[in-house]
């Protein structure tokens, strides 16, 4: 590697510090390999721009700094032609080539549902996959809620059983004490010897029963703890290219917002995410998102209180399994109402 790809990218998008930039430019004039490296990165930015990739800040920088130049526009037109040919070749090839085991999740689902012929376009397959995932997600959430409520009911029933058992013991103790008082009188000496301990024990039992009854009454009076409320949304990469930005309505009583990101593929490395608020401020980040267990879906859970009304962009970054710098693999824009 001649130059650091991330540094070259910063240079082209106008984000490099002056001293570092001056040093790089001296190398560009003197070293053929370094110059070629930057031109290759320039093409990468063009390809990424045409593919709808990169963060919105990157796209804006590209449009403001590079796109005005006639040379870059010609380059954009050239790369667009290449992408057109590549799309044509891919469409022709996929019609006869059997599905690969490593095909993207969306394609495998489409094939499994027998919709191959009906869903020729990746966008349709993605939409179908997203709808299916939404359905599974809703069912899963309902199942979880039902299980939670069932657990609470069992817990209350158990507490009630304990309280009833205690009251039963108290009653039984009282009944034992009562017949004892009606039994034929023992000789006075035995009365005198056994009466005091029995009375003390009975008093203790009555106190214990009383405390249990009060405790049960207190528990029943105490309001049940508010269950945690999680609002879940699915964001797909297709959302960015559709008209408008995705609008999310976060309930006022939500504690957590779960964002399920449809990435279109399973990651080979580890995934992290950063949430950018207005002005590019990093409002939240997580360098180790939970491993994907549901195909191409990645889940990011954020405290709901962070998502005040406004515009946000969630950047998804993948760190290769063999190590190295994280690479931007997806950007999801949304607006919180």
């Amino acid at each position: 590697m001649i130059l650091d790809p991330k540094a070259t990218r910063r240079y082209l998008l106008g984000r490099m510090a002056d001293a570092e930039r001056d040093e790089l430019e001296k190398r560009l004039l003197a070293e053929d390999a370094a110059y070629e490296d930057v031109l290759a990165t320039e093409d990468e930015l063009i390809d990424e721009y045409l593919a709808g990739g990169g963060s919105s800040a990157d796209r804006r920088a590209f449009e403001e700094r590079l796109l005005p130049h006639a040379r870059i526009r010609e380059r954009v037109a050239y790369v667009r032609r290449l992408r057109t040919l590549a799309a044509e070749a891919a469409a022709a090839g996929e019609a006869v080539r059997p599905r690969e085991a490593g095909a993207p999740w969306g394609e495998r689902v489409t094939a499994a549902l027998g919709l191959g012929r009906l869903a020729p376009s990746p966008a349709f397959a993605t939409a179908m996959a997203a709808a299916l995932v939404l359905l599974v997600g809703v069912c899963g959430w309902l199942g979880w809620r039902a299980a939670e409520l069932s657990t609470r009911v069992e817990s209350l029933q158990a507490r009630t059983a304990v309280a009833e058992s205690a009251l039963e013991e108290e009653r039984a103790a009282a009944e034992v004490a009562a017949p004892a008082s009606e039994a034929p009188r023992q000789p006075a000496a035995e009365d005198a010897a056994g009466a005091a301990p029995a009375a003390g024990e009975l008093a203790r039992e009555r106190e214990r029963a009383q405390r249990l009854a009060e405790r049960v009454a207190e528990l029943e009076r105490r309001p049940a703890p508010r269950p945690r409320v999680t609002a879940a949304f699915i964001l797909s990469l297709a959302t960015r290219s559709s008209s408008g930005v995705r609008e999310l309505a976060v309930p006022a009583d939500a504690d957590t917002v779960r964002l399920q990101l449809d990435t279109g593929a399973v990651a080979a490395g580890s995934l992290g995410a950063r949430l950018l608020a207005a002005g590019g401020r990093v409002a939240w980040s997580d360098s180790q998102l939970p491993a994907q267990t549901d195909g191409s879906l990645v889940v990011a859970e954020l405290p709901a209180e962070l998502l005040t009304p406004g515009r946000y962009e969630l950047l998804l970054e993948e760190t290769p399994a063999e190590g190295g710098e994280p690479e931007l693999v997806g950007a999801y824009e949304f607006h919180v109402r």
Binding site: M1, P5, Y11, L12, G14, R21, E25, K26, L28, L29, A30, Y35, E36, D37, V38, L39, A40, T41, D43, E44, D47, A51, G52, G53, E63, E64, R65, L66, L67, P68, H69, A70, I72, R73, E74, A77, Y78, V79, R81, L82, R83, T84, L85, A86, A89, A90, G102, P104, P122, L237, T263, G264, A265, A268, S296, E318, P320, E327, V329, G330
Partner: protein
């Protein structure tokens, strides 16, 4: 730029080429290369009119040489670089005006594409003339959007047994090869 601009005379250009090397042909190539690279660098710096800055740079160096100044620099490229950055800083338009000029360029209508069909036709022919492995590489490289695009490239690099950066350079060189072919094809139309 300075008001009293000095034009590049044939004699001055000759001095400039001599400075770049004893062999006129290779000196001429170095001259074009320097111009090209400087223009790119000024584009990347956000300069709205990079060619003008490059012209001024060449003029100043030639002016010095024509005036008999002996420039002792181990690397002519670095010398031109130093002069170029000075010219860039002196640019009277300033950063704000550069941005305004760039905005004006952005608002210009796109170039006419009457020959788009012909260019596509040439590109198809040139693609067909590539060896199969190169054609496969460049088509697979430019397939896909978003996350799948990056995944495909990683897979492609793994299949070729090279790193992602090496794949990037290889794709860049293939694009250059195709571009030259398309240029030749268009010139014959």
């Amino acid at each position: 730029m300075t008001e009293d601009r000095w034009s590049l005379t044939p004699e001055a250009l000759g001095s400039l080429l001599d400075f770049l090397g004893p062999d006129p042909e290779s000196a001429g190539r170095r001259y074009q290369e320097i111009r090209c690279r400087l223009a790119r660098i000024f584009e990347w710096r956000g300069c709205a009119h990079p060619e003008e800055v490059v012209d001024e740079t060449m003029n100043r160096v030639a002016h010095k040489l024509a005036g008999g100044v002996v420039i002792e620099s181990e690397d002519p490229f670095r010398y031109f670089c130093g002069v170029a950055f000075m010219v860039f800083k002196e640019d009277l338009r300033g950063e704000r005006q550069q941005l305004e000029a760039l905005a004006e360029l952005r608002n210009l209508p796109p170039p006419p594409e009457e020959d788009e069909d012909e260019r596509m036709d040439c590109l198809r022919r040139c693609m067909g003339s590539l060896p199969e492995d190169e054609r496969d590489l460049i088509l697979r490289y430019h397939t896909g959007e978003g996350r799948s695009r990056i995944r495909r490239r990683r897979r492609l690099a793994a299949e070729l047994g090279i790193r992602l950066n090496a794949l990037r350079i290889r794709a860049y060189r293939l694009r250059g090869k195709l571009e030259e072919c398309v240029h030749s094809c268009m010139s014959m139309k």
